[in-house]
């Protein structure tokens, strides 16, 4: 017995084909919609985008050299690349460490967030009670808790993984919840007319319907996880990309500083690309 039986008793579902509005639906952030507006670009656009990048980097290089800007204020792109390559053997362990905290925290947070969304949307009353607390978790930057976590737990990877999970989980959960709420009574009635169990309705109807929003949550959660991972590194300990950022900044070694920023940006872009591919693969039917 589940809640739809009650609804179906009082209502014949309307069969209006639901317009797929996932891409327009407000999620927590605008980046989410950006992920879904990534379309296949024509070669002209691609060339245009690359041209802009070359122009900006070239202009940066040129101005810094012509105006003789000292390296500790703004190094030219060429020096940043050189710094990245030469110091990479050194940076390598920090990169691995931050990736490890990001990936483990992300996987834990995403799994917990997904499961909680799936379970709680089945229990409307409890969902209503818990939602405000989840909203607090979403709106409070988890990074603010890291000093406390490190105080309890030391400067190892543990508190950082926890912080990343705490940043990712609520993001995934809140988007997935929106997805799971998009129940389509007509499709549920269809499954029920064949005698579908609650579980079958979940994984054959509600889950696919929720997938576009789940993907949004996984993307936004990943970006929040990255912010939190790098931020946690800055709070304490002697390892991690965030730690290197503070370290190089304190020594005014700006080429190295920018090399790390470049790495962090590359991680962020990778998250976006991976999630866009996952999104396109799993919900190619929705457009």
């Amino acid at each position: 017995m589940d809640s739809y039986d009650k609804e179906l008793e009082q209502k014949v579902p309307d069969f209006e084909e639901k317009q797929d509005t996932h891409s327009k639906e407000i999620s927590n952030l605008n980046i989410s919609s950006a992920a879904y507006s990534t379309q296949i670009r024509g070669w002209k656009q691609t060339v245009g985008i690359i041209a802009v990048a070359i122009f900006v980097i070239g202009l940066w290089e040129l101005l810094v050299r012509v105006l003789n800007v000292p390296d500790f204020i703004l190094p030219p792109p060429s020096k940043i690349i050189v710094a990245l390559v030469t110091s990479f053997p050194n940076i390598y362990q920090h990169l691995l460490f931050t990736l490890a905290e990001l990936v483990s925290g992300y996987l834990i947070g995403a799994a917990v967030g997904l499961i909680m969304a799936a379970v709680l949307t089945q229990m409307p009353f409890i969902e209503k009670i818990i939602t405000p607390y989840i909203l607090i978790l979403v709106t409070t930057p988890t990074i603010a808790l890291v000093p406390l976590l490190m105080l309890y737990w030391g400067f190892g990877i543990g508190p950082r993984i926890f912080a990343v999970a705490l940043a990712t989980g609520p993001m995934v959960m809140i988007n997935a919840t929106t997805g799971f709420r998009r129940t389509d009574l007509a499709k549920i009635a269809l499954a029920k007319s064949y005698g579908a169990s609650t579980f079958q309705i979940f994984y054959k109807i509600r889950f696919p319907l929720a997938l576009p929003m789940i993907n949004v949550g996984l993307l936004v959660g990943g970006i929040f996880g990255l912010i939190t991972a790098v931020g946690s590194d800055m709070v304490g300990g002697k390892i991690g990309l965030g730690n290197r950022i503070s370290y190089y900044a304190s020594l005014a070694r700006m080429s190295n500083f920018f090399a790390i920023i470049l790495l962090v940006a590359l991680i962020g872009i990778s998250i976006w690309i991976i999630m866009t591919i996952v999104g396109n693969k799993t919900t190619n039917w929705s457009e």
């Binding site: 069969f15 084909e17 797929d20 007509a186 499709k187 269809l190 007319s193």
Partner: protein
């Protein structure tokens, strides 16, 4: 004759914000095995409510419905339903949509494959098995949904204005198609429509419902040859039956109006 469906004095009252709405009142009906019965009635008279009551998803408030000797209290594998809209799952391709009921029922798809392939062919959907719903026209989608309803070989087919959302040309084509399927599969069909012309063309028997609350008004036995001859819908004997039914409906409405029972529902005999 074996009676596949027996409906006895069923009623359905909805609880709405503006108080209870009596949609169907004391409706009764009997359908023999292999028969094709149509239900017509003015808009809002409770046709959908009645049919959904038979699905077991949407219980009647009172009265009882018996399908294949068992009281209807839950959905059954002996009943296939075709909805007003195709209601296909957009993330599945056509063949996966057709297999959906078998999957839910835990049946071995292999055993049904060749029969389903036949059906797909007979409605002209062969070659589209791997297409997703968004790549199919409304008519093709509805054909797929009919095959889906037949996929697990139910004895009974319930159809609620299945072609109402289609354009006039496609609709006529679909009417012919459903007759072919019926003759081929020998299913028991209950077909709800507000188009009297369609009901007369398709059914052996037409049940007329009154305006809301929908109850029995009349039953017409359609005395036209089977299989329906080509061009029958342009013959006088066909028009006469259609006119007779329309006259009855107008009469009902006039009567309800006189008694002050008619709850203004937009209705026209020109449908």
């Amino acid at each position: 004759m074996v009676k596949d469906i027996i409906v006895e004095n069923v009623s359905k009252t909805y609880d709405s914000d503006r108080g209870p709405v009596e949609a169907v009142k004391n409706f009764s009906m009997e359908v023999e095995k292999g028969d094709f019965v149509a239900i017509v009635g003015p808009s809002g008279c409770g046709k959908t409510t009645l049919l959904w009551g038979l699905t077991g998803l949407h219980p009647f408030t009172s009265g009882k419905a018996i399908i294949l000797d068992k009281i209807v209290d839950k959905p059954r594998q002996s009943v296939g339903i075709v909805f007003q809209q195709a209601n296909l799952l957009p993330w599945r391709n056509l063949i996966q949509n057709i297999y959906f009921p078998l999957e839910i029922m835990g049946k071995n798809i292999k055993e049904y494959k060749s029969k389903i392939q036949d059906l797909i062919k007979s409605v002209g959907l062969d070659g589209f098995e791997n297409h997703h719903p968004r790549e199919l026209s409304g008519g093709m989608q509805q054909r797929a949904s009919i095959i889906r309803a037949l996929s697990f070989d139910p004895q009974i087919l319930l159809m609620d204005e299945p072609f109402g959302a289609l354009d006039a040309y496609t609709r006529d084509e679909m009417d012919t198609l459903i007759l072919e399927l019926w003759e081929k599969t020998q299913k028991t069909i209950v077909f709800v429509t507000h188009r009297i012309e369609e009901a007369v063309y398709l059914a052996n028997k037409v049940y007329v419902m009154t305006a809301r609350p929908g109850t029995n008004s009349a039953i017409f036995n359609i005395d036209l040859p089977r299989p329906r001859p080509e061009g029958i819908t342009m013959e006088m004997r066909y028009f006469n039956i259609v006119a007779e039914i329309k006259r009855k409906i107008v009469e009902d409405v006039e009567k309800q109006k006189k008694e002050g029972k008619y709850k203004s529902q937009a209705y026209s005999t020109i449908t």
